[in-house]
Amino acid sequence: MKTSSGFWAAYARNKGAVFGLLIVAVVIVLALFSGVLFPESPWEMVNAPFLPPMSDGALLGTDTLGRDIAAGIAHGARMSLWIGLVSTGVALLIGVSLGALAGFFGGVVDDAIMRFTELFQTIPNFVLAVVLVAIFTPSSTSIVAAIAIVSWPPLARLARGEFLSLRSREFVQAAITTGQSNLTIIVRQILPNSLSPIIVSASLMVATAILLESSLSFLGLGDPNQMSWGYMVGAARTVIRQAWWMSFFPGLAILLTVLSLNLIGEGLNDALNPKLARKGR
């Protein structure tokens, strides 16, 4: 469709999206090099407890047990990004496949899949996630699974809508009359044309997944072996009046990452659906 340079030009027109991309790039670098920057385990007590930020040897201070907050944030970035990306990937796989089948075949298949989807949509997301993690004992796998299971229904609905409208398009009918198989038609003809809105909502879903994971760890349902932003905020909440920095910095990290991902989603939307974006600008 578009050349890649055209895509970037359209994306870069949204300044917020460029900012978002920068922040996310920083977070990614932090996550990748957390082991180099902070070779010590983030669980290690490296300093005196309750050190305020800018203290010697603890840039962002230390927590109630003397663990370095900066190290926690760097290692937590790895966990947050990993959870965000993997759970979104799994949600995409489930949501898009089911949505595609429902939209393409319609009729009974559509009814069955959509009722199944509604089953999930009627249960509050977070409650379901809490229950799932609690049942399967907290670990990064169970957290990813829980987040994916609660977040695929909107993707399924979106994909179904796209498939429904594209299905009746003439190029799809042409593919049918030239004897292409259903699988070929779904994967090669319709899917590439329905990707833009799916990509956009997936980018927003990464942000939601990070928030969900933080909330779970805040409640103490995080992976006990992995440092995470939500856990840090949760652990520091009792001393928030004495030591603001313990919850402030991980909270800021969550805020910035989620905000950036949302900005990226908006930028992608502008770049991928230029006709919609021009309105009101």
Partner: protein, 585 residues
């Protein structure tokens, strides 16, 4: 005819309008009529990155009282832009007027204040749009929508407005105006909605009516009624009507004067009789020669052997609007249809929208399943075959779709699009691609087109690609569903020519579905006329056109716009010479 018509009338200002005004409409009273609209050097710029800098360039023309000026041009000629500029409807801020003036009774519209302009629009100048389905607000009663402009532009009280609404609806020939004013737009047919639009435009007794392709979305018979309505209202009120159209048939039907536009420039303007019968500019000549028409010399098709395809008593009923526990309305799209197509024969299926012609076409290619009946292909009934059993027949029966913009996958290269079919049937990928290149050449494109994406091609070229895709399967029967109705006339001619050429060369049979009798006349051996799911008349083209038996066929033939006008013979001769080369569009 004293009007001095120059092919490039751009710089002629003061003197020209008067001479023209007197020359063209004998009914205008004085020789020095003041023009209603006087457009001088109008230039509208397009945003950067558009395919040309100006939508309209240095456009000069006048619209006089009591005349219908037809502005003719193909898509992208800037004819609608001109109308939109007059009505202040240009998509700001990307497209704007950058030069020239537009005088309404001597006052420049562009320098007026917003308030003055608004009073002018809707009050003195009114517009009728192309798409009656979207031009009305679906949530408001039609009466209220008409009343709205009365409320804004007049000081009538409520009762007087209501009376006026009924009066207007009566004038545009709508039945039961009092009841109708209380209905919502979805209850009305396309033609009725267009009448409501016209009533709305007439509400404040405008001096100028701008009609932007008002009949393009309508069926021929409805088009005829709307054209008659516009003509009679114009004559009654001595309005100036600027009628934008792409169809020279329509021009011949209603125009007093014709302006021809190409690429944003005016190429020819003059009295209708002169432009239609003795056009001077090459582009006008080309356009007029492209108007589809019946070819007299077509020999009757001699059927030989067994029928390739035979439809027997095909029935199809759609349930519309039904739902859970609720029965919807039934629409009959196929009522005992019987039709045969012999090898090498082109059968035209003609009818208005909703007559079920596409339903039959789609049933034949297996995109739709009729409720009952048989469709025999080489003696084998296709209906009731399972998906796998039907598959071998897919190669034999191919389809060309209507919309060249929707029928090609925008994410695939043209070469892939053409070769996908054969590959699905187990052809080697490389071989299929080579064949795709050959086919592209066969349909008049360059082989290198295979490496490009569909959006890099124009509508006519895409339709050629679509045809190549169908041919890649080596079909024996081609179902062409309105293959040229989305194309400009000059491109239409080329694509029709290509189809005609290919079917002779490859000895194809063709089912040609169209709403346009003129197009059918040009390519079909046999014509079947459909109405409400029934074939009311079927026979050789010559007899259907020359001696129609069914009343509906006669109505259809009678509704062809511009039937009284004969395309000048010299132009047709020119066209025969031109298209022999088979230029790509």
């Amino acid at each position: 005819m004293t009007g001095t018509v120059t092919p490039f009338p751009a710089p002629r200002r003061a003197s020209a309008p008067q001479t023209e005004g007197s020359a063209m409409s004998p009914s205008s009273v004085a020789t020095a009529v003041e023009p209603l609209l006087d457009v001088r050097g109008l230039t509208i710029s397009l945003p950067d990155g558009a395919d040309r800098p100006y939508a309209v360039e240095n456009l000069t023309f006048t619209l006089n009282p009591n005349e219908i000026l037809c502005v003719v041009g193909e898509s992208g000629s800037g004819k609608s832009m001109t109308a939109h500029a007059t009505m202040g409807l240009l998509p700001k801020p990307h497209v704007k007027v950058t030069g020239g003036e537009l005088l309404f009774r001597g006052h420049n519209v562009f320098t007026m204040s917003e308030t003055e302009q608004r009073a002018l629009r809707g009050g003195r100048i009114a517009m009728v749009f192309q798409e009656p389905m979207t031009a009305l607000n679906p949530l408001k009663k039609v009466g209220d929508q008409i009343e709205e402009s009365l409320r804004v532009h007049t000081s009538l009280d409520k009762a007087a407005r209501a009376a006026r609404v009924v009066e207007l609806l009566t004038q545009v020939g709508l039945p039961n105006p009092a009841d109708l004013s209380k209905s919502y737009p979805f209850r009305l047919s396309g033609g009725q909605r267009q009448r409501v639009m016209i009533a709305m435009a007439l509400a404040c007794e405008p001096d100028v009516l701008i009609a932007d392709e008002p009949t393009t979305a309508l069926d021929v018979t409805t088009q005829k009624q709307i054209l008659e309505l516009i003509r009679s209202i114009q004559a009654e009120r001595h309005m100036g009507v600027m009628f934008i159209t792409h169809d020279f048939g329509v021009v011949a039907e209603i125009a007093d004067r014709v302006a021809v536009m190409q690429h944003g420039k005016l190429v020819e303007i003059g009295p209708a009789r002169q432009v239609l019968n003795a056009p001077t500019h090459p582009y006008t000549r080309h356009l007029i020669a492209s108007v589809p028409h019946y070819i007299e010399h077509r020999a009757d098709f001699t059927k030989s052997g067994d029928a390739l395809l035979e439809a027997r008593n095909v029935n199809k009923v759609f349930n519309v609007g039904g739902g859970f526990l609720r029965k919807g309305r039934q629409v009959v799209a196929g009522d005992d249809i019987c039709l045969t197509i012999h090898p090498g024969e082109t059968v035209g299926l003609v009818g208005e929208s909703g007559s079920g012609k596409s339903t039959l076409g789609r049933s034949i290619v297996g995109l739709m399943t009729p409720n009952s009946g048989q469709i025999l292909f080489k003696g084998q009934n296709l209906l009731g075959l399972k998906r796998r059993e039907f598959r071998p027949f897919r190669r034999d029966i191919q389809m060309v779709f209507q919309d060249p913009y929707a029928s090609l996958n925008p994410r695939h290269k043209v070469g892939d699009i053409i070769s996908q079919g054969p590959v699905a049937f187990g052809e080697d990928k490389g071989k299929a691609l080579t064949r795709a290149r050959e086919l592209l050449q066969l349909v008049g494109l360059d082989g290198s087109a295979a490496d490009r994406y569909p959006h890099q091609f124009s509508g006519g070229q895409r339709q050629r690609i679509s045809i190549a895709r169908a041919l890649a399967m080596d079909p024996t029967l081609l179902v062409a569903d309105e293959p040229v109705s989305a194309l400009d006339v000059s491109v239409q001619t080329q694509v029709l020519k290509l189809l005609d050429d290919i079917r002779h060369r490859l000895n194809l049979s063709m089912l040609f579905i169209t709403h346009d009798l003129r197009v059918a006349a040009q390519v079909c051996d046999t014509i079947a006329v459909m109405r409400r799911g029934k074939i009311v008349e079927i026979g050789p083209s010559r007899s259907v056109f020359g001696d129609p038996q069914h009343e509906y066929t006669r109505t259809l033939l009678d509704a062809i716009p511009g039937k009284a006008w004969e395309i000048p013979a010299e132009l047709l001769a020119e066209r025969a010479g031109h298209s022999a080369g088979g230029h790509p569009s």
